[in-house]
Symmetry: C2
Subunit: 167 residues, 2 copies
Amino acid sequence: MLVRAVYNLMKMGPTSANCSPARFLFLRSAEAKERLRPHLIESNVEKTMSAPVTAIIGYDLEFYEKIPKLFPHNPEAKSWFDSNEKLAATTAFRNGTLQGGYFIIAARALGLDCGPMSGFDNAGVDREFFPGGRVKSNFLCNLGYGDSDKLFPRSPRLDFEEACEIL
Amino acid sequence: MLVRAVYNLMKMGPTSANCSPARFLFLRSAEAKERLRPHLIESNVEKTMSAPVTAIIGYDLEFYEKIPKLFPHNPEAKSWFDSNEKLAATTAFRNGTLQGGYFIIAARALGLDCGPMSGFDNAGVDREFFPGGRVKSNFLCNLGYGDSDKLFPRSPRLDFEEACEIL
């Protein structure tokens, strides 16, 4: 299944202490999509309902429970995080988002088109899909094969001099 | 120059409303590296001082000033952010970090090895390199050609079933 291939490629990207906090819900069924619908902004509804799969990319605030498996050369790294809630939350968001970037690139590398979206109610999605409170939603990503006729042209990027400096 | 090629590849990755908040300082000179040294944790000093280039990946909290250039089909998108400091800060961190992920993948695609690091004092780096307060440091990334003999083997990743669910 293609979502497994995307995961097995993106999971290789680096994270702090290999902490790998990203978690993925792949919404494929009509029932799952309907649970998401009320939390989307209006302009994201139609494209999400018609996408073959919508991924909810989240991050696990207690990712450190898996550090003994993930960082075997120093399982004590768990203690860097389990005693410091603020550091754990920042690490989960930063590294979960890095993994979101790897996810988009991996999906594209495997031939999929991606429609990543921040236009939704994170708190509502969390209540519906992550009621335990341990995992937080980060962003959504529609996956499928897009119709380029429906897209506006790629927008300009910042020039090197606008975004970068060499010291 | 290779850092320009990395930037010109990574900049193509998607961000919310094409907001492109990541900013990059490439530390190449000995003087610039010495300014960074006191803010590194001890285990990151030697490898950073010996790397050909160390990138400070930051994000611009006032990224929305560039939205009229970046999102020409709807320049009003600037108002989504300039009236909501919390949304702007979250958007800057999330999308600046996504761009950090694109940066790592782009550098590797161009043959570089990457040593990304969170082990440093963000506040100290911000005072030294971003004194205006508008740009915040996110993470560091050493760039060069690594010696695989000095690395420990790749650590295990989470299995699909540990990180993913299909609904």
